[in-house]
């Protein structure tokens, strides 16, 4: 006698797999944020208790006023004029320190602007990277006065 068994299909239902996959894609696409993960490197010198003494006269001092105006070695100067001013000095002494000293009330963006400009010294024809120094207020009070 032949039995007529009603055998169920032994298949895994995959019809909804694409739906699940696209749902996950949408989730990742929405949660992925392309953030600004780039910036200027700002290598900090070691916190030395006995730092090398740099005479103010030997260095170039760039002061940044709260309005964004620049005073380079006591003279007002535009941002694009700094590198041409530094060029002859740095050709004589490439290690000459260039000190950036913003006023405490100066917006941070002006300091970054000057630092960015000085970091591009080599693109403006300088042989070596500029020896930039940004002393903190604590260092200025400790070592300058």
């Amino acid at each position: 006698m032949k039995l007529d068994r009603d055998r169920p299909d032994d298949e895994i239902p995959t019809s909804s797999m694409a739906d699940i996959a696209f749902l996950l894609i949408v989730f990742f696409m929405i949660t992925t944020t392309f953030t600004a993960t780039r910036g200027l490197d700002f290598a900090l010198p070691e916190d030395d208790d006995d730092p090398p003494v740099v005479e103010k006269e030997e260095s170039v001092l760039i002061e940044i006023l709260p309005t964004g105006e620049l005073i380079v070695d006591q003279d007002p100067m535009q941002l694009h004029e700094i590198i041409p001013y530094l060029k002859p000095k740095l050709e004589r002494n490439p290690k000459k320190p260039v000190i950036i000293r913003p006023d405490t009330a100066t917006p941070y963006k002006y300091m970054v602007q000057v630092y960015d400009e000085l970091r591009q010294g080599e693109d403006h024809g300088l042989a070596e990277p500029i020896n930039i120094s940004v002393p903190t207020q604590r260092e200025i009070q400790s070592f300058w006065y």
């Binding site: 694409a18 990742f28 600004a36 700002f42 940004v134």
Partner: protein, 142 residues
């Protein structure tokens, strides 16, 4: 004359590889996704030079009101009341990993003394590598 019966083809789109493509995209997004540890809304300063910041760097952010938040790169950033807390946090992170990179994410309008306090705290904590987070400066920015 007997005419041949026309064979009708059912129109169908081949969807067999759709799941493969979908899973490929999922894997791509899973590998590239980075969860932000700091969501402070700031207007970053603009710079011409910008370098890629290593992943899982520690963050110190300063919002336009001068509030400081810190993150070790793994946990979400937390508000701190003073720059001295940045020092203790940074010292703890550096004790665990002396090569840890720190990112200063500050609003461009924040006064220098605030940023100065943070940088000074990082210096005292013996942090060596700091990045100043910035946006790309373009020709139109002047």
């Amino acid at each position: 004359m007997k005419l041949k019966a026309t064979i009708e083809h059912k129109p169908n789109i081949p969807t067999a590889s759709m799941a493969d493509i979908a899973f490929l995209l999922i894997i791509f997004f899973m590998l590239t996704i980075t969860f932000e540890v700091d969501k402070t809304q700031v207007v970053l300063p603009k710079t011409t030079l910008r370098y890629e910041i290593p992943k899982q760097s520690a963050y110190v952010s300063i919002d336009p009101n001068g509030r400081i938040r810190v993150s070790d790169g793994n946990e979400q950033s937390a508000l701190v009341s003073a720059a001295d807390e940045v020092l203790s946090m940074a010292a703890g992170v550096i004790a665990m990993d002396p090569q840890k990179v720190f990112v200063v994410k500050s609003d461009g309008e924040v006064s220098w003394d605030k940023v100065d306090e943070v940088i000074d705290a990082l210096k005292r904590a013996k942090v060596r590598d700091v990045y100043l987070l910035s946006d790309q400066r373009t020709v139109t920015d002047g």
